[in-house]
Amino acid sequence: MKRPAALLLFLLFATSLHTQNLTSEPQPDQQLLNEWAEALAAEMEEGAEDAQHILMEQLLQLYQNPININTATREELQKIFFLSDLQIEALLFQRFQNKAFYSIYEMQAIEGMDAASLKMLAPLLRFDWEVQTSKRTFRPQADLFIRGQSQLQTQNGYRARPDGSIPFQGSPIKAYTRLEIKALKQVSLGLVAEKDQGEPLFTAQQPGPDYLSGYLQFQTDHTLRKIIVGSYKLSSGQGLALQTGHATLKSSATTSIRNRQASYAPSLSVNEGGGCSGVLVDLGGEAWQLLPFFSRVQRDGRLDTLEQDGVVLRSLKSDGYHRTETERAQRKNTEEWVVGLTGKYLLPRMTLEAGLLHYQLEHPLQALPTTYNQHYWQGRSTHNFWLAGSGSVANMHWFAETAFNESAHPALWAGLQSLLKQTAELALGFRHFPLDYYAPLGGALSEASVPAGETGFYVGLELPLPAAFTASGYLDAYSHKAARYGVSGPAKGFDLLLTLHHQTSSDWENTLRFRHRTKGVDRESEEPETVLGEQNQNQLRWQSRFTPGKNWMLTLRGDWQTVQKSGADRLAPGFFLSQDLRYTSNSKKWNVTLRYAVFDAEEYATRIFAYEPDVLYSMSTPAHYGKGNRLVVLGKWTPLKGLDLWLRFSRWHYPGRESIGSGYAEIRGDKNREIKLQLRKRF
C-alpha cells in the first residue's frame, strides 16, 4: 500500500457530502466499513475524538453514496480521505486523456496509484459512463440510531451531601439519538438529541434532552442550489478564519496538510462548544459559488457582573456539561451571532476563495488577567476577512490563505505539495499568526490551540521503499512570541514524527512509529519566580495487524514513552501493551471484539492515548494514565435486515487503589465499569 499513512488520515481529509442523500443502492458491506473506520481512527493523534467522530460519520455517508468517478469534480474527489491531492490531480489528468474509466483496473495506470489503494477505493466508486443524471427511481429512506450508556460504579456526583442534596441533577445514564431522513429527492432532514451523564431529563427544569439540534435541507438544480436551515458546518481556505467542523491537525499522513474539508455541510455533531446554527444558502453555477450564512447560537458562559462594565463574559464553556446547579446556571446564558459571506471561483487548475464574517457576543468577553492570556482577544465583536487559493503547476500543488482581523498584520498559511520522481511525496508548509490575530471560527493547522503569536515551518515526506516498506515523516519547527498556559514566556519547539510501515504480506501489516517533541515549559522549581525550561518527549510505538480471511482481525500494539523536563529527574517511562481480537461470523450477522491492555504510566505527562473498539458513531481514544489494565468487549448483531444491535462492556482496573478519579467524578474502589447499548434501524 503506497500511502498507508494517508489511508489512515481520517482527520485532515474529513469531507462531507454536499448532500445528506441516503443512497437507494444496495447496502454496502458493514464489516468492511467498520474495519476501515477502526484502522483509520487507530492512527489519529491523541485528543482528536471530535474529529474522529466527524470523520466516522462522513465515511459512512460516503460509503452509502459512492462517487461516480467519471463525472466527479475535484471537490467531490476530495471526499475520499486517503486520496492525496497529487493523486487526485493525476486522476483528473488521466480521465481527461482517456475520457472515462470503465473499471477500477484501468485506474492502475494513474501516476502514484497502487493496487492496494485501488482496493480501498473500489467500494467508494461507481463507474457510470453515461454523463446524464441517473434516472433511478427515488425511494425515501431513514436511518435511526439510539444509544444508551452508563457507568456501573457510583460517582461522587450522585452521592448525597451532608445536607441531603445531590450534586448531579440527573441520572447516570447517557442517552443519544440521531435520525436522518431523505424524505424527497430534494429534501432531507436530520435530528440529534443527547443527554450527558448526570444531566436531568423529563423534569420540570429540563423537560427535554439537554442538547437538541437538527437541520432541514432543500436542494435544487438551479442557481439557488441548496438551503440549509438548522445546524451546519463551514470551511474555507486553510481554516485561518473559517473552520467550524474540526481543526486541522498534524497526523500520520505526513504530506497531507492542506485543508480539504468541504465548504459546508449539514451537521449532526453533538459538540456543544462550537458549530453554527441558522441559515445557509448555496448559490452557484459550474464555476462559482456564493455562500451567505447566518448563525445564532446560545452558548454556555461564565458570566460576571462588574460595577462599571455590567455583565461580562469571563470565558465560554465548551464541555457541554449541565449536571450541577452551577453548570445549569451557565447553560445557554449568552448568545453568539455570526453573519458572513464566502465565495469560490473555480478555474481549470486553480481555485480562488474569499470571504468575510462578523462575529458578535451578547456580553463582552473579558477574561480575568493572567500571565498567559494577555494577548487573547477581548471584546463584544470582531470580524475577519480572508483570501485563499489553491492550484496545480506541473507536478506541484500549492495552497495559501491570508486572513485579517482588526490587527494590522495578517495571518498567513501557505504550502506546497509535490510528487518527486513520480514516487516520493513532499509537503512544505509555513504559517504565521500575529500576536493579536483572532478568529473565533478559525481552525487552521497549528501547534497551540490558541495560535496567536505562532510561527511555524513544516516539512513532510512520504517515500515508498523496496520490499513493501513505506517510510514517512514530518518535522515541524515552531516558535511562540508570547506566554501561554504553562509557558511563562516566548518559546521554541519542534515536533518530529517518523513512521515505517511494512506490508509484510497481503493480510499482515506492521507499523513502527517514533515521535520526538521538544517544547518550552515552565521549570518545576521551588523558587517563587517561574523560569522557562524545556520538555523532551519520546514515543515509540509498534503495531501489528493481521487479517486473514474475512473472519478474523488480530491487532497487537506496544507503546513506550519517556518524558524529561529540564531541572527535574527523568520521569518514569510510560508503557502500554494491548491485544485485540475480532471475529466475524460467516453470515456477517454478528461479530465480537475483545481488547485487553496493560499500562503503566504513573506520570500524567507519560500517559498514552490508544484508540479502542467502540460502537458505530462513537469514537473512543482514552488516555491510559496510572498503573492498571483495560478490558473491552464489544458485540454486534444484525437480527433482521436493516436492524443492528451493539453491546459494549468496558472496565478500567487499577489494582491497589482505593478510589479512581477526583471531585464529582471520583469512584470508590479500584474498578470502573461501563456498559453501552446501541440500536440502528434503517428504513
Partner: protein, 295 residues
C-alpha cells in the same frame, strides 16, 4: 572459617536454630526481592528463558496456554527448580499434556517452598487450534498456601493466551497470567499472586535456528524485554540462550532427547539475586499422535 583473633563464637546452643536462620535470611531478603524487578520470576522465564508467549508444546505449560494446542503427543513430565539457591523458593512440578480430538488438555501440580511456608498449585488448561494459523488457550490455577500454625489460604486465577502465525516461519504470541490481578484474600504484599502480561515474536531464521523477542510486564514492576536464541545442533539436541532486562538476566539451557525421554537443563543468573537452576525430565507416552482439528 573462624578467625582465632576475633571474639569467640557464641556457644552452639545459643546460636539460632538453622530453620530460624533461614527464615530470618528470607525475611531480610524479602524487601530486597520486592524492590528488585522481576523477583516473582514467571515460571516460563525460569524454566526455559524468554517470555513464554510463543512457547509451543510442553514448554507452553508454564507459558502461553495457547501453545499447548501445538502438541500431537501425550507427555508426562516432572521438574525441579532451585531459585537463587534458596530451598524456601524452590519448586517441584509434575505435569501432563493430553491431546484429544477436540482440545489439548494440560495440567499439573507444583509444590513450592518448604516448612514452615509451602505452596501448592493445581492447574488445568485447555487449548485449541482454531485455524492453521491461530491457537487459543485458557488455564485455571488453584493456589494453596500453607503456613505452619496458620490456616491454609487459597486463590483461583485464570490465564489466557493467543498465538497466531502470519507467516510460515513467524509467529506472534500474547498471553496474560491472572489478568484480573487477583490476590490472596488478605492482600498479602509479600506473597502476591503472580500477574503479568507478555507478548513476543518468534522467527525461524533457518531450519534449526529460532529467534524470539518479547516484552513481559509484571503488575508492580517495569516492563522487561527478552531475547532468546535457540539452536538445534542435532534433531535430538537443542541449545537455548536468553537475555532479559532490566534487571539483567542471562539464561542458558539445553534439551536432550533420548528415545522417548526429554532431559531439560537450565541455568539462569539474576543480576542481583544470583543463580537459579532447573532440571526437568519428560516422557513422551507411546500413543498414536492426535491432531486437534480446527473448527
Amino acid at each position: 572459617m573462624h578467625d582465632p583473633d576475633s571474639t569467640p563464637l557464641p556457644d552452639r546452643a545459643a546460636r539460632p536454630p538453622l530453620k530460624l536462620k533461614r527464615i530470618l535470611l528470607l525475611g531480610l531478603l524479602a524487601p530486597h526481592l520486592l524492590l528488585s524487578a522481576q523477583n516473582t520470576l514467571p515460571d516460563h522465564a525460569a524454566y526455559w528463558g524468554g517470555t513464554g508467549a510463543t512457547a509451543v508444546g510442553l514448554p507452553a505449560h508454564q507459558g502461553n496456554p495457547a501453545g499447548t494446542a501445538y502438541s500431537e503427543h501425550r507427555f508426562l513430565a516432572l521438574a525441579h527448580q532451585n531459585k537463587y539457591g534458596l530451598p524456601e523458593l524452590s519448586s517441584r512440578d509434575l505435569y501432563f499434556l493430553l491431546p484429544t480430538s477436540l482440545l489439548v488438555l494440560s495440567g499439573g501440580f507444583q509444590h513450592s517452598g518448604q516448612r514452615p511456608l509451602q505452596g501448592e498449585t493445581y492447574s488445568l488448561a485447555a487449548a485449541r487450534t482454531l485455524a492453521p494459523w491461530l491457537r487459543m488457550g485458557l488455564r485455571g490455577n488453584y493456589w494453596v498456601q500453607r503456613q505452619q500454625e496458620k490456616e491454609a489460604r487459597t486463590a483461583f486465577i485464570l490465564d489466557a493466551g493467543v498465538q497466531y502465525q502470519p507467516l510460515r516461519d513467524l509467529s506472534l504470541g500474547f498471553f496474560t497470567c491472572n489478568p484480573l490481578q487477583k490476590n490472596w484474600s488478605d492482600k498479602d504484599p509479600y506473597h502476591p499472586l503472580p500477574s503479568y502480561t507478555a507478548a513476543a515474536l518468534n522467527y525461524r531464521v533457518v531450519e534449526g535456528l529460532e529467534l524470539e523477542v518479547g516484552v513481559l510486564k509484571e503488575a508492580d514492576f517495569d516492563a522487561s524485554f527478552h531475547g532468546v536464541l535457540q539452536v538445534e545442533l542435532h534433531p535430538r539436541l537443542a541449545l537455548r540462550g536468553a537475555l532479559s532486562g532490566t534487571p539483567l538476566r542471562l539464561s542458558l539451557g539445553t534439551q536432550l532427547q533420548v528415545q522417548a525421554f526429554y532431559i531439560h537443563l537450565q541455568l539462569q543468573h539474576h543480576q542481583v539475586l544470583g543463580w537459579s537452576s532447573v532440571v526437568g525430565l519428560a516422557w513422551r507416552l507411546p500413543h498414536k499422535p492426535q491432531q486437534t482439528t480446527s473448527s
